[in-house]
Subunit: 126 residues, 2 copies
DNA sequence: CTAACTGTATCAATCATATTAATACAGTTA
DNA sequence: TAACTGTATTAATATGATTGATACAGTTAG
């Protein structure tokens, strides 16, 4: 169901989170679809239950899934809300970087130029 | 000469670095001006010599100062080069954030809008 | 009602890293 | 040579992130 990379440097629970986010955002997992149980996934990945649990908990806090104790974890509806939240965090980070950049005298125009660059570079698909 | 904030969460050597960067970028410290000796500054701040030393070492690596063993640490010339380096690091961070944002479907226009906001918000002085 | 599933909470062990400190080494100069 | 300078090495400490062991609790099929 899911592949872990032990050499990536990323922690296991973060990898699990990112995997499910991708699957949900791309609609590979549909609204209200049941996710593997924490124990089933932990077992199949040969990791601890709590590691999966932590990923699920945070996915729920971020609005990507909802949990029903005793039943399971399911893909949430209104994924747009979750997206919004993620974007909010990105805004936070961006805000700090802008602050830094200003301290070094980087003007708005220059900053905008960088964005353009990055959007063109990374933009090979879509 | 310099003020430390023990409640800021920032480590001491980082605070020292930022302080001197600001002083140098604002020309409060002029080219080739002598900085306080590691021991003098450590003593006046009541901290360890190596904490100051670390700040100075990194300031040198980043091109803000130069060091002459036995003599002291001095404000570097060509501060523009140091600025460039700092901006390069900011670019790195920015690149990662753009990548993230794209993963959540944030379009370039929306991103540019955020930048505008932040530049206007933060822009109370100058 | 009970067995076998589900998720959850608590606490501890582990690991990694950042930060600071103690101390010895080495160059400069009056 | 004494009293300054910076530097390198190593260790102690603190902090936080990550994972694990284990117990608690809800749901449901039989």
């Amino acid at each position: 169901m899911l592949q872990l990379d032990y050499r990536s440097g990323e922690s296991l629970y973060v990898q699990i989170k990112e995997n499910f986010k991708r699957l949900i955002l791309s609609k590979s997992l549909k609204e209200d679809e049941l996710l593997p149980s924490v124990r089933a996934l932990a077992s199949s990945l040969a990791i601890n239950v709590n590691t999966v649990q932590r990923a699920y908990r945070e996915l729920e806090q971020e609005g990507y899934i909802y949990s029903i104790p005793g039943k399971g974890n399911f893909v949430a509806g209104k994924i747009e809300d979750a997206k919004q939240k993620s974007v909010s965090e990105i805004r936070e980070e961006l805000s700090k970087i802008v602050e830094k950049a200003r301290a070094f005298g980087v003007e708005q125009e220059e900053f905008q130029e960088m964005i353009k660059e990055f959007y063109n570079k990374g933009g090979k698909q879509s």
